[in-house]
Each structure stands twice: as C-alpha cells, then as structure tokens.
Symmetry: C2
Subunit: 422 residues, 2 copies
C-alpha cells in the first residue's frame, strides 16, 4: 500500500492525486488498461472473503438503521453477484478502446492537417447510492476510457466500497498503473459529495447514478458539468391503423419483460377510433401477466378490469407491473399528452400510416423515437455499444444510450510545417 493511502488525505489532496493519475491513464495503451480490468475481475472473485464480511457489516448497520428490504437487497453482494460483476468487467475488456479514435479531419489548402481525436475526460466523478455494484461498474468503464475516477457511494455501503476500492487499487498497482486512478471519498460523508460538486478544475465531469431525487440534487448544485441519466416515463401510442397482433406483442414486451428498468412502458395512449378494436386484446394480454391497468374514463368504458387513473398516473414511472392507459382523440392529442408528460426518454408509435409515423418521429422530442418497435430496445447493449454507462435524457454531449465513447471528450491535433495565418 502506497504512502498516500496510509496517511489521511484531505479531499483536495485526493483530487490532486486523481488528476496526476489521469495524466498517466490518458496515454496508457489499451493492452495495459485491459490487463488492469482483468486483474480487477479476478480480484472481485478472489476477494470474496474480504468483500462479503464488509458487506455483512453494512447490511447489519442497514437493518439497525431501518434500511428497507428493497434497499438491503440492492446493497447485498454474495458470491454469485460477485461472479456476475467480474464477468461484466471481462466484457468491458473485450470492447474497443475509444481513446485515440479519429472523429473527423481535413487538410487545409495551406497543407495544415486537422484531426479531431477522442481523448479521456480526465477525472470523472460519480455520485451514487448504496449499490456497491456501481463501484465496480463505473470504475471499469472509466478506466477503459482512460479516465481516473473519484467515487462517492452511499454511506450505507461505505465498508463494502472501501474494500472494493482497495482491491481495485491493488489490481491497478499490479499492472504498474497509479493506485489513485480509482479513489473513494466516502470517508468525507455528505460534505465530500458537496465538495465534489464544487470541484471545477479538479473533476471534468460528474455522473450521478440513482434516483430522480439524487440526480436532481446533483444537477442543481453541481458547478462541475453533469451527465444526467434520467427517469423514463415511456409512452407507446397505438394509432388508428395499428395492427392488433403487433400492438399486443410490443405493448406486452415493453411493459412485462422487465418492468423495473427505465425503458419499460409506463403509459399507453390509444386513438379513440381504434380503442374498441385494440384495447380488449392488448390489455387482456397484460392482465393475464398480472399487470394492473390504470385507465382513464374512456378506456375504462371499454376495458372494465382496471382501476381509475388520476393525474398522478400520467407522471409516474411505476417500474412495476402497472400501466396507465388513456384514449386520445387523435395523433395531435397523443403528441400533446407526450409533450406534457414525457421525460424525453423513449416513445414509440404503432401504426401502418407512413405520414403519421413520420410526424411522430419528427415531432416527439425524446432521446429515442420509434415506430413499430418495443421501447425495450433503448439500451446500449441492444444498440451494439457493449457496456452502457446509462441513458442520457439531456441534450448536451450525449443523448440516449451512452457507451464508452460518451465517456470521452475530443481534442484537435493540428500539424503544420511552419504555416502562419494570412
């Protein structure tokens, strides 16, 4: 263990060490970064005897402090989960290193060449909740893209995270990389998170991962640029001409396959002329899979096996087997509903009318807009990016599924032979 981790460092000292480490990582070749990731994957499995007791301690503290069983489950690491974490890290090894990729370039009439190439951000900050898997996940993504990372996990996972970061640091050292490329600032508590959000110049970008509340707080308070991954109040709109089988399959897949994720369907809109034809079959299939239907008055008149929807239902990301359903007069009304309630994540239209499909794609202002496809396709893995950093619902820098290249910036390389500007 290096001297710096033995002495109690101030947060600023830690950030300065992260900055130094980031300079080493920025020019580290892909094979060395991959060796570090493989060492981390091995350490996550081999270190179970250190990780699990620390995790047990956090779980015991959590129970004492009244942590909900749901949060306890997210906090828990066992051997199976560690193995799955390790294999996720191995998958990142297999991805192409984005650093050094040429984005565009040209040669000026005077012979000066321009090349815009991908470079790491430098130091990435992450603020997240008591989910220790995020510690490994974010560290691996940041390292692969050449970034140092400063982690602020939930205090309820502090003991687990400390052990995980030590194992990562040992792995880094084993391949000759600086330990300080991955650091935790959990020991500084809430004050540490606040300082991290103020650390312009030390931290290049901050990624909040977790609840809408956490993300909103970071967005509001941070002076460091933030990459926001947002909630998904995802809509499917069944147009007049929707094929009943296609509508049934897509709605069922979008709602039922994995209801707890952000690309799952939350609100179904149906054209009034098609509601009687479509709703009994579409909603019937959902009821058979245990979905609770929250229907507006007009939907309820057609499909009775439902509860009455309130205004709250249109804004809710259920993340459960619940679906809000509303009958709308036409495409305009559907677009207006989406404009009002969408979180700009993913919306899909089911239609056979080309002009309406085009209008929907053009006018819906979301990261991903679809025609005749399940909203569950909004996913870095499905899009072929390999690992997914998250799904951005902001418009700056990255929008939609974020892969490794979204963890990089660019730099212009200009090569001349003495040219001056005329």
């Amino acid at each position: 263990m290096s001297e710096t981790t033995l002495t109690a460092a101030t947060l600023t000292q830690k950030l300065e060490l992260a900055r130094s480490a980031s300079r080493v990582l920025a020019t580290t070749k892909a094979d060395v970064k991959n060796a570090a990731l493989s060492a981390i994957a091995k350490a996550v499995v081999a270190g179970a005897s250190r990780i699990i007791p620390a995790n047990d301690l956090d779980l015991a503290n959590g129970r004492e402090n009244g942590l909900s069983t749901g949060l306890q489950d997210r906090l828990r690491l066992d051997e199976a989960r560690l193995a799955s974490l390790a294999s996720a890290v191995e998958e990142i090894v297999a991805l192409t290193d984005p650093v050094g990729q040429n984005v565009r370039g040209s040669t000026l009439p005077n012979g000066v060449t321009l090349a815009q190439v991908r470079v790491p951000f430098g130091v990435v900050g992450a603020i997240y909740e008591a989910r220790p898997n995020v510690t490994i996940d974010i560290a691996a993504l940041a390292l692969k893209s050449g970034n140092a990372v400063v982690l602020r996990g939930g205090s309820a996972a502090e003991n687990t995270n400390r052990v995980l970061v030590e194992l990562i640091q040992d792995a880094l050292e084993s391949v000759g990389l600086p330990r300080e490329a991955v650091q935790t600032i959990d020991e500084f508590g809430r004050e540490g998170a606040k300082q991290l959000m103020q650390a312009r110049g030390y931290v290049d970008v901050l990624i909040p991962r977790g609840s809408a509340d956490l993300i909103n707080t970071v967005v509001a308070e941070s002076k460091v640029p933030v990459i926001e991954t947002g909630a998904g109040v995802v809509h499917v709109y069944l147009d007049e001409s929707a094929d009943i089988q296609m509508a049934t399959d897509i709605v069922h897949n979008a709602k039922v396959q994995r209801p707890s994720v952000c690309n799952a369907l939350e609100t179904l809109l149906v054209h009034s002329s098609a509601a009687e034809r479509l709703l009994p079959t579409v909603l019937g299939a959902l009821r058979s899979s245990g979905v609770t239907i929250h229907a507006d008055e007009r939907a309820l008149a057609i499909f009775e096996d439902a509860v009455v929807a309130t205004e709250d239902d249109w804004t809710t990301e259920y993340m459960s087997l619940d679906l809000a359903v509303r009958v709308v007069d036409d495409l305009d009304a559907a677009l207006e509903h989406i404009r009002t309630y969408s979180t700009h994540h993913t919306e899909s239209i089911i239609t056979n009318d080309l002009a309406r499909a085009d209008r929907f794609l053009a006018e819906v202002d979301s990261a991903v807009v679809m025609v005749n496809a399940s909203t569950r396709f909004t996913d870095g893995g499905e899009f072929g990016f390999g690992a997914e950093v998250g799904i951005s619902t902001q418009k700056l820098h990255a929008r939609g599924p974020m892969g490794l290249s979204e963890l990089t910036s660019t730099k212009w390389i200009v090569r001349g032979s003495g040219q001056v500007r005329g």
Copy 2:
C-alpha cells in the same frame, strides 16, 4: 405586431412562447430558415434609421453612466457596422443546415434500423454584454440550426437590442415563422438573467458570451446546461531543434496579427539550450512590431529590451501587444508550465524532433494542440466550419471551435416492423 408582444408578458410566458416557437422551427425546412435570415440581413440595413437613434440613446446613457470609451466603442452601431453585420448573416445563409444530418446508424440482426440524426436543442439562451452585434449574430446562428433563442444582453444596450429584436421578429413573421422564435428579456434586468439560469425545462442550453467574469458567473449559477467559451492564455514552446525562421514567423504571427483575440499568443516558452540561438531574433522581430516583452530572469539575461515578468504574467490573457517569455530547462518543464497556467485553449510546439512533437500533442490537455503552426489557426472559419459560435474550452459536448452543428443535439430514430426484445 402580434397580441403577445403588445401585452407585457411575464418571463415565464415568454419562455413558454419560445418553447412553442421552437417546435415550429424544429421541423422548418432549410429554405424557409434561409429566407428568414435573408430578411433579417435586409432589415438590419434597411432599419438603420430606427437602429441608430436607439443606439445613440444607449450611447448617451452610457456616457452619462461613465461607460469606458472601449465599451462605448463595442456598443456603437453605425451604417458600416450594420452592413458588415448583414453580410455576416448572409454568410450563414450559405452554410449547410445541420438539422437532419445523419451522424451514424446501423441495422440490427432482427431488422430494426437505428439512425442518429441531428436535431435542434430547442430553446437556446444567450447571456452577453453590451455588444448589440451579438444579438444579430446569435439569433442568426440559432435560427439556422433550428433553435428558438432567448436573449439577455447588457442593459447598456437595451434600446438598441429592443429595436434589433423587433426587426428580427418582423423578418420572421414575413416568412411565416413565429415572432417568438427570437425574444429579448432585457426588460427584466438582472433578475431576468437569474431566472433564465434557473429555467430548466424551458431553456435547453445557455451560452454566455463575454468576459471571463460573466462566463464564470453563468457557469457557477446556472442550472441549465452551459456551453462555455473560455479565455485563451495561449502558449508556444520553442524546442531545442526549432528552426529559427519558422519560430520567428509563427511567434510573430501568433502574437502580432490580431492580439485582441483568444487564439493570440500570450506566453512564449523556450528550451534553455536554444534560448541564446533563438530569442534575439524571435523577440527582436516582436519588438520591431511594438510588442512589450515580459521576460523571466533567464530570458532577460539574453534579451535585455524587456520588462521583468512577475507571477501574474503567466496567468494573464493580455489581448494586447504584450508577451510573457520564460526559459525552461526542457520539454518536461514546458509541459509543467503549461499544465499550471494554460486555460486549455491552444498550445503549439515548434520543433523538428518527432518524438517530442508526439509527446507534446499527447500530453498537453487543451482543445487544440499544434506542431509547427500558428495558434491563430484555432478558428471556426479557418477550420472550415463557416460561422463560429465560439471556441469551447470545456470538455463536454464541444471542444475547440464550435460551428452550427455544435448548436444541435441528436435523436435516435428507430424503425421496426413489430420487433420485440428477446
């Protein structure tokens, strides 16, 4: 004049109108946007009889309030300046519309097609100082890229800006576009600027243009994502092997051609082994052009016609015929100096040593890094982007010269034929 501009609108009402207008603009074809820009260019010239009296009033108020002559000059619009503003708008007409451009795409094994296309941000906010040319400039760039824009100019230019915005709105109306696509919120004063920085959900991105103080304030206070254009403490490093003629030409061009801009040279670093060979000629040429040399002790021992540099000189963006000069032991010391004092805008090495050129390009963490070229090439026009929105020194979204495409976001268009996720 429409009803909405006759009644006193609240700031929130104005932002809502901007949002509505942005939806129209997002799907407006390039030829209509170009017609609006041509109408604006004509109005800027034809409207001189309204613009210049309003500008005279601002100037008179400015003199009364002790506005410096430099700021008065930036505030002043005369017929020649209006003609030049109009021709800048006509140049934007000639640029390719970035909206709808395909960034990347693919077809998944299941037949689903993905296309990432450029879309406007939506509503762009601009906060700037008493330079009414920025009103026209930003409005034209925003409109061309399909964005509505909300302008907060310096209160010292309030009368001028009000007339300019009315002329722009009339031009928009003349081609059937909503007047509210370009609005000023100057009437709300400083409180308006504060509210604009809090207007998440209404404003998609905020662009501060002006002094470092203004930019820092916006970055610190804004909850809306900011695109930052920064100051340039730009460095040239003369390596041991630098050709004396090339060094002289590039340093002279970088410092003297236009000292008041952000890509002009501010600090010259010289390898100690080459200082005696290079400095007399390089600095002699600058002195002949009236440049004041601020030299460190070692440079002063070689070139006496200079003043003594202090710590402040390393951090100063002179924007004038002044140059800080420092002799460094080697490339490492040059890199260390740049790391400490650079604003991450542009740095150039003059060398014939390939390995050192590569190290400089790899290790200097700036938007633009150069070998054997003048720093004055860091410019949207020189890079072939046409109009320049500014030069970003941040790492998120855009880095270096920003063209029209940097005023856009993207959106994923997914087309299926009933596919669901397995």
